[in-house]
């Protein structure tokens, strides 16, 4: 048996899915968090049944790629759990009535049941049940209220094959609303006032700039302190252990160099030694993880508060000039964490042109947190100047390239039309869960690649392949970018992991200008292999080739210009 969770976007389907199956999935407060089907199992009368979390859709006439997925699922499902936002009954009932025309058993869930009282809304769930002639269960998914009741009433789900048509649906909804819902006007709360203030340009733009500055400062503050007071002291302790190993292995030889790396002035240097047990662990754990943790903590709060759709509204006009619309800010923000979820989330955009531009710009210009952490380490010592030039350059490329692509590419960019959810105070439990899911995927997906990257560096050096390649690529690397020819090793490793690649710049003794050129080029020239695979799936071979060509050309160009200027 297959149970489908269906409903409008941002009604809490994923939160209910987590409660039913125990499978953790991303839950946020913006429409379109779930972009692909998530499957899990739950126990029902001693049987294991499949539960499918379907992306949100307002109607059964889909408007985006994610909504299409939702509608196609109806053919394979056996029962639909129709999740409704109780604070928005009228609108949500439209999909409910459509579902009641499909001859598939339906049970209705009234989620956000705790919020209606503050809004002065009263809903008679019993009466609604009588009208719809299917079970209606009030829930508060984030606190699990009503979930047991939902499970116990699942077998009561009932199928109808009503024949309404659009007109009749709305008049039926009008009738239902008059009977079951009562609204008494309430005074506006602080959060509601803030909702207005944060979309009005005069107040919203300063609020946005303050939030972005605060995010940047918080990520660096948390990251730096975690490194200084937790991870560096831990690695200090670990140092004596690997130094012991280094001595046992005799301080040299192939095994020593692969495991411990080369000694710098007779000592182990966690960043430069390039051994599996030194650099291979230090880079991901002590240089990248602290910032990844800090970034996802802050991003989680932004996602769950409901701020992102407001940000999307404020930047909509600018993004239109770049061939996208406001919601494209979400792939960009997610890309700052990791380009893989960034590329996946381009699905929330409606047209092929928008998705291509968003994916390409994200892959070229948006550095993932792993890379940014290393750039912090590398350019941080030069203060605001080093980091400033790096980020401003990327921002300008983002604007210029988007503007150009919008002019050159055929296809449409529809106007923004989206729902802005209310502000909500994030729940600690769901924040912590989400943070842990993201950290875990960093640990399991990134670290093997870091180790592989470090291993490959060793192999390439031992076999002398680096020398050979660096001779061949010198005209570009030295001639155009003004970097030492050995920097090519970093570009090769950059295919696997950008963080290791940035770290490899350190032993080259570059000046600030060269460090900036190298960091910008490493960001732009090519996505890491994990992102590349996802882009292939999302864009298809032809568009990926186009996108890749744009990357290479712009990396050559921008690196060359920067080299001439700095």
């Amino acid at each position: 048996m297959k149970i489908l969770l269906m409903g409008d976007p941002n009604v809490g389907k994923s939160a209910i899915f987590s409660r039913l199956t125990g499978v953790n999935v991303m839950v946020s407060n913006y429409p379109g968090t779930t972009i692909e089907l998530k499957k899990g199992k739950m126990k029902l009368d001693d049987r294991l049944v499949e539960v499918i979390d379907v992306p949100g859709t307002y109607t059964l006439e889909p408007a985006s790629k994610a909504e299409e997925v939702a509608v196609r699922m109806l053919e394979v499902g056996d029962v639909v759990v129709n999740v409704i936002d109780a604070t928005n009954l009228e609108r949500n009932l439209y999909l409910t009535l459509q579902l009641l025309e499909q001859n598939i058993p339906v049970i209705v869930v009234l989620n956000f049941w705790d919020e209606i009282r503050h809004l002065g809304i009263q809903i008679d769930a019993k009466k609604l049940e009588a009208y719809l002639n299917v079970p209606v269960v009030p829930t508060v998914a984030v606190t699990a209220e009503g979930i047991k009741k939902l499970v116990s009433r699942l077998p009561e789900a009932r199928a109808h094959a009503n024949k309404y048509g659009e007109e009749a649906r709305w008049s039926e909804i009008g009738k239902i609303i008059r009977e079951v819902q009562k609204i008494t006007p309430k005074k506006h709360t602080f959060l509601e006032k803030l909702e207005d203030l944060s979309v009005k340009p005069l107040t919203g733009i300063p609020i946005t700039l303050s939030i972005l500055a605060l995010v940047f400062w918080l990520v660096r503050f948390i990251g730096e302190n975690l490194i200084a007071y937790l991870f560096d002291p831990l690695f200090e302790l670990y140092l004596s252990a690997v130094t012991g190993l280094s001595n046992v292995l005799g301080g040299g030889g192939i095994i020593h160099d692969v495991l411990v790396g080369t000694l710098i002035e007779g000592k182990i240097d966690f960043v430069q030694s390039m051994g599996l047990l030194t650099t291979g662990l230090y880079v991901p754990f002590a240089m990248v993880l602290p910032y990844v943790f800090a970034f996802y903590l802050v991003l989680g709060v932004l996602e769950d508060s409901g701020y992102l759709p407001r940000l999307a509204t404020l930047v909509d006009a600018v993004l239109h000039k770049l061939g996208m619309h406001g919601l494209a800010i979400i792939p960009m923000l997610l890309g700052l964490g990791c380009n893989v979820p960034g590329a996946l989330s381009t699905r929330i955009l409606e047209t092929k042109k928008q998705r291509f531009i968003a994916a390409t710009l994200m892959a070229i210009v948006v550095p993932c947190m792993a890379q940014t952490s290393m750039v912090f380490a590398l350019l941080g010592p030069y203060g605001i100047k080093g980091l400033g030039i790096y980020f401003v350059t990327l921002f300008i490329v983002w604007l210029a390239l988007g503007f150009l692509l919008n002019k050159v590419l055929k296809g449409e960019t529809p106007e923004t039309f989206m729902e802005i959810p209310p502000y909500r105070i994030p729940y600690f439990g769901s924040l912590a869960k989400k943070l842990w899911m993201r950290i875990r995927s960093f640990l399991t997906e990134a670290i093997p690649f870091v180790l592989l990257g470090v291993l490959i560096v060793n192999v390439l050096y031992v076999l002398g392949i680096i020398d050979w390649i660096s001779e061949a690529t010198a005209p570009v690397i030295v001639g155009i970018w003004g970097l030492p020819k050995e920097a090519v090793a970093s570009l090769i490793v950059g295919f696997l992991r950008k963080d290791v690649a940035v770290g490899m710049l350190l032993p080259l003794g570059l000046d600030m200008g060269q460090l900036i050129v190298a960091s910008v080029v490493l960001t732009m020239y090519f996505p890491c292999v994990a992102t590349f695979v996802v882009l292939f799936k999302e864009l298809g071979a032809m568009d990926l080739i186009k996108s890749t060509a744009i990357m290479i050309v712009s990396a050559l160009l921008v690196g060359g210009i920067l080299n001439a200027l700095l």
């Binding site: 009228e90 439209y94 809304i121």
Partner: protein, 79 residues
């Protein structure tokens, strides 16, 4: 007096009277319950030909400028 949502004053409540475009447009708006006869409040409009933000029932919605021009409303008397 009828004005388009685009021309409606910020902060003003109004009733949606008619839409200046066909089926597809009507259906799209209806997905957020923006329909003829509903009362909305215009919260703001973004500069640089940006979108209009309205309140409808308990949600807010962002609507592109050109779409807002095609939504004809009648402002409600001052409160």
């Amino acid at each position: 007096m009828e004005v388009s949502l685009f021309d409606l004053q910020t902060g003003q409540k109004a009733i949606i009277k008619r839409l200046k475009e066909g089926e597809m447009f009507r259906k799209k708006l209806a997905s957020l319950n923006i329909r003829v006869g509903k009362t909305i409040r215009k919260i703001t409009a973004q500069p640089l030909r940006g979108p209009v933000v309205i309140e409808i029932d308990n949600t807010e919605a962002t609507i592109g400028m050109n779409m807002a021009k095609k939504i004809v409303t009648e402002p409600l008397g001052a409160e």
